[in-house]
Assembly symmetry: C2
Homo-oligomer: 242 residues x 2
DNA sequence: GTAGGCTTCAAACAAACGTTTGAATGACGA
DNA sequence: TCGTCATTCAAACGTTTGTTTGAAGCCTAC
C-alpha cells in the first residue's frame, strides 16, 4: 500500500492563476446578488473553493477585488463602444453620422455583454447599475475614471450630430440617457413596479434595448424646453399644491 | 467660572417622541451619506445624541428603522403625486389631459421635496435613488408596496392620454422614466461623468427637472419602434463587432 | 406619596467582519 | 539534490457589528 494517506491531490492540472479567476467569478456572482458591503470574503472564498487568505494575497483587499471584478468586463465594454463609434465615423467619411447610430454604438456593447452566455452576462449589468448609485468613494472614483474618456468621446460625436443643441443641454441629456440605461439594466425583474412586463421579454435584453433606443433617441432630439413656459406651469402647480 | 461641569440638562422641554425624531433625522442623513449597510447603529445614535438601544426600542431593528426613514418622506410624496393627478383630471372634466401635465404631476412632488429647506430635501432623493438599486429583499418588497398604487394610477392616466400606445410599450416607457428620474436625483453631483454641469445649476433641482421633463416627454411620445428595421441595424452592427 | 407606564441608560452578548501571520506545499531551475 | 519562489493553508488577530438585558430615571394618575 503506497502511503498516500491524503487521497486528493490528483494533479491539479498545472493551472496558473486558476484560483484568481475562480475567486473573480465567485465574487462577481455574489456581489451581484447581495451588493458589495453585504458580501463577505468568507462567502466568496467558500464559493470559489479557495482559502480565505486568497483574496488578500491575489488582490490585496476587498475593495481591490471589487474593482477587479468591475474592470474585467467594464474595460472591454467601454473599449468596444469607442471602437464601434470610431468605425461608424470612419465609414461616414466627412459627413456627420446620425444620432441613432451613435446611440447604437453606446447601447450595443452592453447588449452584447448581456447576451454573453458565458459567466456574468446580464447579471453583471445589474451589479454595474448598482455600483453607479453606490456612495462609497472608491467606487465613485473608479467609475468616473473608467467612463471619462468614453463619455467625452460620445459627447463630441453627439455634438456633431446635433449642432443646434447647446452643449450644456447635451450634457444633461447624456446624463439622463446613462441613467435610464443603467437603471433599466440594473432593475429589470428586480422591482416589479410596472407589473405587466412579461418575464419572457424582461429576460430578453435585445428586445429591451429595442424599446429603450427609440425612447432615448426621441428624448435626445427633443425640442429645447421653453423655459419660461415651463416655469409658469411649474409655479402654477406648485402654488396650487402648497 | 460657574461650575457648569455638565452643561446640558436644562429642562428637556417635555418633548415626547423627540428621541425618535432625532434618531430618524440622524439615520436619514447617515444612510444617505454612506448607504444602509455601511451605516452603523452606533454612528446613528451617536449623531442623534441618543442611546444605542434607542433604535431597537423605538423601531425594533435596523431594517425597520430604514423603512421608517423612507416612509416618512416617500409616503407623502407619492400621495401628493396621486392627489395632483386627481386634481388635474377633475379640472379637465371628461376630456383626456395631456401627457405633459400627467408628467408634471409625477415630477413636481419630488421636486418640491428636493426644494424643502427642512432637513432631508434633495439628499433624501439620493437615498431613495440608491434604494431603488439595492438588492436587499426587504427594501425591494417595501418599495414595490409603496409604489404599486401610484404607478398603476399614472399608468392608467398615461394610457388615456396616449390611446395609440400599446400598454406594454407604455409600461416600458414608464420604467425608463422612473429610471432616468431616480438616477438623476440619486446621482447629480455624485458622479462627475458629465463634467460641465455648472455648480449653480446642479444644486438647483428646479432647473434640473425643467430639462428632464422635455426629455422624458419626447421619449414618452416617441414613435413606435420599427422593430424589423431596428433588428436589421442591430444585427448588422453585432455581426460586424463579433 | 406611591404604584405603574414608558423611556433611557451602561454594559455585555455572541457573531461576523477584513486582514495578517507563519508554517506547509509543490513546481522549477541550478 | 537542494534551494527558491509563488501559492495555499489553518489559525488567530483585533474590531465592529446588531441586538439584548436589567437596572435606573421620570412623568402621570391614583
Amino acid at each position: 500500500m503506497p502511503p498516500k494517506a491524503r487521497v486528493i491531490p490528483l494533479k491539479p492540472p498545472r493551472d496558473p492563476a486558476a484560483t484568481k479567476v475562480r475567486v473573480l467569478d465567485a465574487a462577481e456572482a455574489l456581489f451581484m446578488e447581495h451588493g458589495f458591503e453585504a458580501t463577505s470574503l468568507r462567502a466568496i472564498t467558500a464559493a470559489a473553493e479557495a482559502n480565505l487568505a486568497a483574496v488578500n494575497y491575489h488582490f490585496g483587499s476587498k475593495e481591490e477585488l471589487f474593482q477587479a471584478v468591475l474592470t474585467r468586463r467594464l474595460d472591454p465594454m467601454n473599449q468596444a463602444r469607442v471602437e464601434l463609434l470610431t468605425r461608424l465615423e470612419a465609414g461616414a467619411g466627412s459627413r456627420p453620422i446620425s444620432c441613432e447610430r451613435i446611440l447604437m454604438a453606446l447601447l450595443i456593447p452592453p447588449l452584447k455583454l448581456a447576451r454573453d452566455p458565458e459567466r456574468g452576462g446580464k447579471d453583471f449589468l445589474r451589479l454595474l447599475g448598482r455600483a453607479y448609485a453606490d456612495p462609497a468613494p472608491f467606487i465613485r472614483r473608479f467609475l468616473s475614471e473608467q467612463y471619462a474618456v468614453m463619455i467625452a468621446r460620445f459627447k463630441a460625436a453627439f455634438a456633431r450630430a446635433l449642432p443646434r443643441l447647446p452643449r450644456k443641454e447635451l450634457s444633461w441629456r447624456l446624463h439622463f440617457i446613462m441613467g435610464a440605461l443603467s437603471y433599466t439594466l440594473a432593475g429589470t425583474d428586480a422591482l416589479k413596479l410596472i407589473a405587466e412586463l412579461n418575464p419572457h421579454e424582461s429576460t430578453n435584453d435585445e428586445i429591451l434595448l429595442r424599446r429603450l433606443a427609440p425612447f432615448l433617441l426621441a428624448g435626445l432630439e427633443a425640442p429645447l424646453p421653453d423655459l419660461s413656459a415651463v416655469t409658469r406651469e411649474l409655479d402654477g402647480e406648485l402654488g396650487k399644491t402648497a
